[in-house]
Symmetry: C2
């Protein structure tokens, strides 16, 4: 195939210096006279020397790789727009990493935690961790620095990006402004960090102007889960005049349920969701969603992790305030 790789030994020999001097000259680490440094660099250039990354990693114990992994189960990832969320996040993270000499591993949801041990990484970004997240734990037990997107309740991570109420505040304000009096918030039955944040916020939110109640849906069933849960809620409590389902699959299912029950949207019932994916934009009527500004979130969480890996002391960052994208489903 290729001629035997040219190693640093070859460079040193050709340049007439010792191994260690060559290494120091190339890495700029230690004190080497300018003349020898130049000579070594020139020889390396001429010989086409490329350091063996594996050997470097072996020796230094660092790999300059970080992983992006979601803590949500595969079902939810594929059913809801979480996949889109993840992917939109992945690119800015990958860019930020590359810019800082790191590269990013995209890890699909795994059933087997042991598979995570195979990843040669310095750090990981865990999206939407559960409390005491097993993935984050597994990484950290190995010495991998972990940062989470979404507050990590039990402190399983080294740092996290706080998403606050996750946009629930912004959206509820919007719904209230639009005239809603009783919002049913549809959350996944399976717990994850953002849903918890939502919940925490919601409990403090109900006031005389806006009543907020929580309903639970089976997110792994996708739209169907939203359909079932919202239908039941609408039937049992006619005072509900708005449905807010952060997961877009639940919102889309809820919309269908409302239509099937003869409610018109938005006049009888408003519908809103978080992630602004195709599902929301193309629904009939189009569903109001949030602009989460994922590029900024991605960049910030990447900075957080990279900062930690470079020894800076940081513990928390904040996501930008989401902006409501008002669509037909909430504009009366």
């Amino acid at each position: 195939m290729t001629e035997g790789q040219v190693t640093i030994v070859d460079v040193a020999a050709t340049a007439g210096v010792s191994l260690s001097t060559a290494s120091k000259a190339l890495n700029g680490r230690d004190r080497v006279s300018q003349s020898t440094r130049d000579r070594v660099v020139r020889v390396a250039q001429e010989l086409g020397y490329r350091p063996n990354v594996r050997a470097q990693r072996m020796r230094t114990g660092r790999s300059s790789v970080v992983a992006l992994v979601t803590a949500l189960p595969a079902q939810i990832v594929s059913e809801a727009a979480h996949l889109g969320f993840l992917l939109e996040l992945s690119f800015p993270i990958a860019e930020q990493c590359l810019r800082n000499g790191y590269s990013m591993l995209l890890v699909p949801p795994v059933s087997d935690l042991a598979a995570l041990d195979q990843l040669d990484i310095d750090g990981a970004i865990v999206v939407d961790p559960r409390a005491d997240d097993p993935i984050a734990d597994r990484f950290r037990s190995r010495g991998v620095t972990v940062v989470t997107v979404g507050k990590d309740g039990a402190g399983a991570a080294d740092a996290y990006l706080d998403r606050g109420a996750g946009g629930a505040d912004v959206m509820l304000d919007h719904l209230a402004d639009a005239g809603a009096r009783h919002v049913a918030v549809a959350l996944s039955r399976q717990p994850y960090s953002l849903a918890d944040s939502h919940l925490a916020y919601l409990e403090s939110r109900s006031d005389e102007h806006l009543r907020v109640s929580v309903i639970r849906a089976d997110a792994s069933a996708g739209e169907e889960g939203g359909y079932v849960a919202v239908r039941e809620a609408l039937v049992s409590d006619p005072s509900i005049d708005a449905v807010y389902a952060p997961l877009d699959a639940l919102a889309a299912g809820g919309l269908r349920a409302a239509v099937d029950l003869g409610r018109t949207v938005p006049d009888d019932l408003m519908v809103a969701t978080n992630y602004d994916g195709r599902r929301a934009a193309l629904a009939q009527p189009a569903i109001t969603a949030l602009d989460l500004n994922l590029p900024v979130i991605g960049t910030r969480v990447a900075d957080l992790l990279l900062g930690l890996l470079n020894g800076r002391q940081v513990a928390v960052a904040h996501s930008p305030t989401p902006v409501v994208i008002a669509r037909a489903s909430t504009s009366r």
Copy 2:
């Protein structure tokens, strides 16, 4: 931090066997008696031994990592929907890799080829390579197996996934059926593999029923590039009654140009594109696009690469036939 990692030396010592025997027992490689094997495995378990991935890679010369990288310049990637294309592709690839014990590195467009040398990978998937693609070359000169999505003209890759006419055939059929007589195909001025495939196909395509002419646009300028190119074409040749721009940014720009010129879509002029992203779906009127079946493409190209890495002899795979998603922009 953590207590010093437990190595295979510790396992061997505790189990009372030699280093090499412990290694063989754990890897199931060579002949070891069942009793010692069991003992070693049990000890490893008890000690919580996890092999040092970096040392393994160093020794074996394999990393079980592949990279996904696009050959298109960063400008086009961000301007056109190529980013969406890439991301939709990335997930099935990452899944397929993980399923086979590999992991996938997502690499943003790089300006500096040397950065690619930092990636510790066994193989790479290069999307939309140019002829004699420098990225593919760089990888292969290092001994990295390369597979491309989109035919690699000059054979810079070890294998490729053939996208045929890239859907141009399907779309032209659709336009002809819809009543088009003269289609202007807007291609990026910058060459890349799919545009070449389109071109090759288009040259053989013009017949008495359907005239096909090619116009060139500056794709790095995004929609504006499409606007300028299409406007000029429409003004200089009034017989054009359809615009087909594989890159969605060009199609969207073209649509705007047509409207500004007072042409109504689809009655005076039809518009179509390849990638079915938000831009196409949300345009006014909505733009007809193709369902490329990216999950299947991703899985196939991953299989191609993984096959090669596992020593199987494969050279080419084919993408599924795209299906037209007919929207208002082409239905009279």
